[in-house]
Symmetry: C2
Amino acid sequence: MAKEITKRSEDYAQWYIDVVLKGDMADYSPVKGCMVIKPNGYGVWENIQRNLDRLFKETGHVNAYFPLFIPESFLKKEAEHVEGFAPECAVVTHAGGKPLEEPLVIRPTSETIIWSTYKNWINSYRDLPILINQWANVCRWEMRTRLFLRTTEFLWQEGHTAHATHEEAEEETFKMVNVYKRFAEEFLAMPVIAGKKTDHEKFAGALHTYCIEAMMQDGKALQSGTSHHLGQNFAKAFDVKFQDRDKELKYVYASSWGVSTRLIGGMVMCHGDDNGLVIPPKLAPLPVVFVPIWRSDEERDLVLGRARELTCDWDLPFFKIDDRDQYKPGFKFNYWEIRGVPLRVEIGPRDCHNRQVVVARRDTGTKTPVPMEGLRATLERMLDEMQRALFAAANERLECRTFTLDDYDEYRSAVEEGGFFRIHWCGNEDCEKRLHVETKSTIRCIPFDAAEESGKCLLCGRPSTRRVIAAQAY
Amino acid sequence: MAKEITKRSEDYAQWYIDVVLKGDMADYSPVKGCMVIKPNGYGVWENIQRNLDRLFKETGHVNAYFPLFIPESFLKKEAEHVEGFAPECAVVTHAGGKPLEEPLVIRPTSETIIWSTYKNWINSYRDLPILINQWANVCRWEMRTRLFLRTTEFLWQEGHTAHATHEEAEEETFKMVNVYKRFAEEFLAMPVIAGKKTDHEKFAGALHTYCIEAMMQDGKALQSGTSHHLGQNFAKAFDVKFQDRDKELKYVYASSWGVSTRLIGGMVMCHGDDNGLVIPPKLAPLPVVFVPIWRSDEERDLVLGRARELTCDWDLPFFKIDDRDQYKPGFKFNYWEIRGVPLRVEIGPRDCHNRQVVVARRDTGTKTPVPMEGLRATLERMLDEMQRALFAAANERLECRTFTLDDYDEYRSAVEEGGFFRIHWCGNEDCEKRLHVETKSTIRCIPFDAAEESGKCLLCGRPSTRRVIAAQAY
């Protein structure tokens, strides 16, 4: 079965599609650009939701739900916003058998519908802050789509907060990009660079945008989460004012921030190998699978009985015993390997005799004999180790493939090979555009931790005060 | 604040709207027929999701996600289905700035998009059963909408299962309506009658539909969940066949089942009172609120300090300390009462002295002094008691207002007053329609537990073998 997967070294893009499809993560749909998220992929999304939602709640946020439909006129109220999103919108023109008086856009993001509502909720500084998040589907009509990475409809969360001051909104914007960084590193085992987007790359309607950027195994960047300081732009567009402590009427400040099912694509490209998916234990829908090995009915009863005994008081999403009669152990090994299950527990008649099992780790392939006594605790320790090892491996790749470069010719050939490049940039948009046109790479972000450093712009030679990260990106 | 709520006895419909709006459950939206689900309402939905999802998983189901968009031609493949749903559809005709080749319908339900996908997943009896559920938004263009009860867009779950035999599909259909009954009674504290819909009322495309029907405080029925046996209808429409053990190619059998945010409207109408919402403890976003009572800064430090001490190791969604300085205790009492928080803990300086608190129960209004020692356990016991009491009260209302009637004139006047009526019906659709036209009531279901009993149809006098439940309904 594994040989149905294209090797990463042969064709990375095809490898990705093979892994997503054969790993039962997703399927193509009859609707162009949309996808079906299969149970193995949706199980990862459920774990992302549960854990990220906890982080949101720990930082004081609550969930709510706003309509899917946005009156077309709302989108037009913020000039940059409509320019950014209108070309990608899907539009409902008919409903209930009749043409609509005003077309409704399927939300590409919810700033406009939410700020038209916040207008009714905010009168005084006492009503602030509002710290709301929404889990929802959104729609952006993309020309070139890729499973998980870029689909017409996708699932995401979008936080929309309202504040009395610029400083508070800024604090929130910065806090949330750091929540994303923490989530990416702790749960997805995916190291990221957190920083600020250039003005050219910021969200349509924001003062500025913070982001996290991850490196895939081909050295390309994947923007994995963004947090926007919206200033008073949407408050002004929807006339949302509050009476402050000083009795003055002021426009409200806003932030918005989101991550999407794209994270699943990042996880696949960060950890997968030529045998299929590798799912980080903390997000695995199924962390442990038992594959019992038998040749006779008698052996079958023995090994299955023992596997059931061992797990009799374990909670269910943690493990599964693959007791299917119609498949051989080798088939089952491949079946679960391609689906990325972190640990496989092999249990045969001799193992029963020796009161041990053999545990195979998905990422390293190592097989370790483990005593049946205390098995649950041993497995949990091994899952922890694997989680940390995945992060360490990804972090080492990130460090090994991050280069400091000051020569444009060198850059032009190096960037084709993938990797992150710390380059000097003068801050001028013309240089940024030239970089994109000539090298297909973009400035991914100005990292938060970039030290001040005098240098010359890689493109024009003018002075620069700090290095930015440039790379080709998904 | 409470006096802003219309009394139930004055205008039940207006009372409902008042409670939903003032209880911070939902708000109207700028998009006609859609609603904004506010944090207090969405918190209930999150608890519904978490608990119902657990019941689904315990019965072997997994979650997945299918596209929001359905090609118009798919809907037309099942004749009854399109007849039932086409008039209510919202249609996307333009996307990405261009007219679409084929219009896309926003899913009103997902049988068609899912069965067009199952065709690719099912070849052999080995691929069956498929037991998939989806949490999603759907859209049905309704003329007359009501917050939670009937909105253009709503949130729901829809299970879609595939089976090798009619018997298995039937078993699943019946199993899931019973899961709904259990959930309604254990979590919503809302007793329901489970039974079968008449052919006239069944789902468009089903062989038959099972349902649960709850009684609201005005005596009207609320259909609260449905489970459909779809037979081979969708398999035939989408040509989904499997090779059975006997090597024969056969069409697959199907079930589908769903509950929606309508359940929240049912909860409100089942338990709310003239002071606002009453949320059953098992679904309360906030089960316990502390209202500290002070007159001086010194007292403030004392009572807040003690409240924090008492709760220092409690988990957070369980309680909140309302330490707002700008509001008086009386305001806070009303604030949390109207929002349906099950238990209010009052703590004043004298309470601190006596090492006790006063606990007020939302449903009964009773105030009980409770020792600080072991407070958490006492509160949990009181929440359990309240959960059971809500069910018992609702069950008594259901029993008191369920009548057995055999005279049509008597029925016509009685049904106006609300209540469930056990009547004889011959099974003829003409009588069913006449009942609806003449009394605005409908046959809600043929209860599973209806005993065989000879009688005469309430309308035409022809023989009937069992009683059905009739009522006016939402």
